[in-house]
Subunit: 132 residues, 2 copies
Amino acid sequence: MNIGTASERSGLPPKTIRYYEDIGLMKAGRAENGYRDYSTEDVHRLRFLQRSRGLGFSVEECRQLLSLYDDKERESAEVKAIAEAKLAEIDRKLAELAGLRDTLQHLVRHCHGDERPECPIMDGLSGDHAAA
Amino acid sequence: MNIGTASERSGLPPKTIRYYEDIGLMKAGRAENGYRDYSTEDVHRLRFLQRSRGLGFSVEECRQLLSLYDDKERESAEVKAIAEAKLAEIDRKLAELAGLRDTLQHLVRHCHGDERPECPIMDGLSGDHAAA
DNA sequence: CCTTGACCTTCCAGTGACTGGAAAGTGTAG
DNA sequence: CTACACTTTCCAGTCACTGGAAGGTCAAGG
């Protein structure tokens, strides 16, 4: 199947699929006319990539995951370790983002938001106390 | 004061301060020897930038915020609108990240993580059911 | 006075993960 | 036959820095 179809079925834009090939993440066969040719298995690998990226794994982590995916002898412990590290990272990001949210919300709540120039948001961003 | 001192006091690396000057976000005076020269007010603006960026505002948003910061006649409503839009965006990101976390945690919890090759994480990443 | 080393300058290149667009070839439907 | 969608490659741009090279400046120690 052509790249357009593989794109639809995997949820990855054609540009991204070509990019993944460029960086050696996913190579496809070629038809006689020079067009890339994708098998159903290829589409599975693309979906795998689409999901992993969507779950926050970096391209390099996807490369690892993909090689484990291909390795039928791999140990599940290896996969679990990678996933757990990523989970911890997501938790860190969540906490950080929640902190930002609170600071910003505090600022917004205390701003009267009218035509006057006084603004606690500005004060909060420029002051020396607390914040992020 | 030199860029190194301004860097320490603002929390921004010298490279970043020069970069901000490059993109016209923050220009500094020059001493006779050609070194950049920062005033206390400059350091305040740098801190403002450091905080705003840390709170997730893009450089372009910081540019807006900074011009409002400089405009003593600005209306707080304007600032509030920008901050509220950013808050909504952070909430979206938080929800998305929480979703990822749940999916990944589910996967990790169901993986026995031993020497066997069977792995629910891999299945979850490659399968067609569910996931973010 | 000279050297050392920390600091400063500019400029160019690279990061991650794409995305956009140009120019040209291919396939298909009317 | 023509239009148009799809494909190819390649080059450039995005965002917000960051690294490094090559060279100028400055204060302290010998």
